[in-house]
Amino acid sequence: MDLKLLRDRAENAFRENGFPTSRDELWRFTDVSPVAAAAFDGAWKPADIPFVPLGSVVAVFENGKLSLEKSNLDGLPAGLHVGSIMDQADERLGSLADAQSAFVSANTAYFSDGLHIQADDGVQVDEPIHLVFLADADGMAFHVRNLISCGAGSKLTVVEEYIGGADDSAYWTNAVTEVFVGDEGTVDHYKVQRESGGAFHFQTIEASVGANAVFSNHAITIGSRLGRNDIRGKLTGEGGEAVCNGLYLLKDRQLFDTHMFMDHAVPQCNSHELYKGILDEKARAVFCGRILVQQDAQQTDAVQSNKNLLLSRGAKVNTLPQLEIYADDVKCTHGATVGELDEQALYYLQTRGIDPAAGHAMLTFAFANEVLDEVKCRPAKAHIEKLVHEWLDQVSA
């Protein structure tokens, strides 16, 4: 669709419907009125925030704008195209994420930058493409739009990392990423969110997965005061596979919401979701995972699990693992648990001479590590492990 038309339509939808309220079933536990009430009239400035590149291809966005100076998009392998979405007309833009929510509508209507990544058919890139979104401009809204396109038989690894300044600046990141995985293609996608403590962070990731293709997403959440991930996958070709894992580490008065939706539209697809959360102080987590198995999607294998560890009084969890199944020859399971650390395990460690504090840290890391185990991209894994350790040290201190 014509971009202008798309934007107009989205803007109308956004103006008409406004932000969701807690009367909306999908937003029952997440009150976004602070976002709706904020003015977002801040001025742009360069963001001077340190980061560690995870590979040689790095795209750095400074307060919402692609900075060619800080980025390295040269020397790309043949068949791999990376550039600003503003320079790259792609008619598929908006075909997956259009106006599902007020946030997607606002993004479609107002996005001003983002990254376009395309791997032509048969192009396999092992090195991760690192997208770094630096933000510290108080009172600004960043509508970031990314499009990842993986051709037939191609392979891509993409890491999106959102980093906020140390000053608790209050801004709003509103990102949308559309992912197209062609037949027999593989997209290994990571999202690391460590926004500032005053930030609002909302992102919708929409993926379409072709025949015998693999899409995997790992969402690691540490930052933001109020945020939400909408991660939605549609398995459109037989033999497709989707993995959506996540880890949220929350403290203070953070509220983070994850809505995961997996649509099995065709037969013989697999999907696996493992979401774990550790909550300290007065933090609150919302998890809603929905697996839809359509009538034709026979021989579906879907597993979903959400596990939460509560470290303190005042921490809260709302979890809603849902199955909606219209085909009979399927294997679907889901599970959810909430609790604190196993006292017997702690005691066992003590009998081995490990003091309670160390035992506590060990078991807490082990809890989180189940998600990290699934991370295939080595530089990303090392980076995430380090972040998890830092967070755990802060919590125990």
């Binding site: 709302n318 693992p321 199944i325 959810a336």
Partner: protein
Amino acid sequence: MKIENEKSFDEIAEKEYKYGFVTDIESDSLPPGLNEEIVREISRRKNEPEWLTEWRVKAFHHWTTLEQPQWAKVEFPPIDYQAVSYYSAPKRKIDAPKSLDEVDPELLETYEKLGIPLREQEVLAGVVAVDAVFDSVSVATTFKGKLEEMGIIFCSFSEAVKDHPELVKKYLGSVVPYKDNYFATLNSAVFSDGSFCYVPPGVRCPMELSTYFRINAANTGQFERTLLIADEGAYVSYLEGCTAPQRDENQLHAAVVELIAHKDAKIKYSTVQNWYPGDKDGKGGIYNFVTKRGHCRGDNSKISWTQVETGSAITWKYPSCILKGDNSVGEFYSVAVTNNMQQADTGTKMIHIGKNTKSTIVSKGISAGRAQNSYRGLVRVQETAENARNFSQCDSMLIGDQCGAHTFPYIDINNPTAQVEHEATTTKIGEDQIFYCNQRGLDTEEAVNMIVNGFCKEVFRELPMEFAVEAQKLLGISLEGSVG
């Protein structure tokens, strides 16, 4: 593997509803429609005290401000609440019958067709007391005398209002307030009759109390109200079962059940629901919108719900437990079977408030034909509920590729000492299982029956003896016509 005797299944599927017949008794009904005058008239006909009339009127006025809830995963045409008649009583011979001899013989015949040997039961001495409900007014109550000796009050709701107004006034609406939800509010305004039971402190009710509900009189909604109180240290097991005659018009049913368990008291509430589900194209059938809730008010109390839901075109029902007392226990065991065009959205709510409270949820959903079967449940652990424990298991079975099975659990945890686990699986009957059974000389339908009964075993073993046998048979009947 293709099922070879598919033809015979179709024949069975087209079988008429086994319990489909209409008893020809003149009903003393109010004209269809709902307004304050109707509400007052119902109350007047039942000679109710003023406080109850006013309670009904308050509920009615609140109801007019509400909208019918839309969140359940069920679809049905809009209900015209003004086309329903809200009161129907079998015509009486001057006064209420004092013994079975005074009961309309045709009515007794109906019970016999339903397999409730009311006369026999007197002879059988104290196995089950039946407070049989025909449409909206209690006709006969047995074994009342025997229960009275122990101080147990078991009577129709209207009698309770007359004879024990202080108890009714104290407990009515204390678990399900009249403002609770659309259907409960409607029920509060127009409820016709139901059962009342009070078990005094320290008394263990010696028999299973039971009420057979039966919908009769065309175009009459049923609005039962059940109130069950187990005082300190008491125990009671209550059975509720029902069948309904076949008819084409949809019938509205909005019952309310309130259970109150005081300190150390235990209540076991078992239901077998087999109302007319509609024909294979979804024509007719009962709309069953029920609010059931138990309140574990005292420490160490326990409420256990067991339900086998095979009937109704639409089931909207969430028997719940509020676990207020410390160490109180809530249980929910459910089998919901939907076939043809039936829709069920059912589950439970477990609200943990007291310390060391425990709840168990075992739900088995079986969906066949073009039916939709959803589990919807809530487990909430409040800040105050130290060491709360919950285990939920929701299994679904799909028979055929046109049906749906869904699971919507809500888990809200506000206390870190809680241990909450939820598990759900979805399966179908394996072709290899059927093949194995065929090999052993069981035909496919018997095999399906056997496998499904095995799937539901965890729930059936919670049922009292009388019901367990009936439930297994019902399951077979409900699944007739579904292909394995």
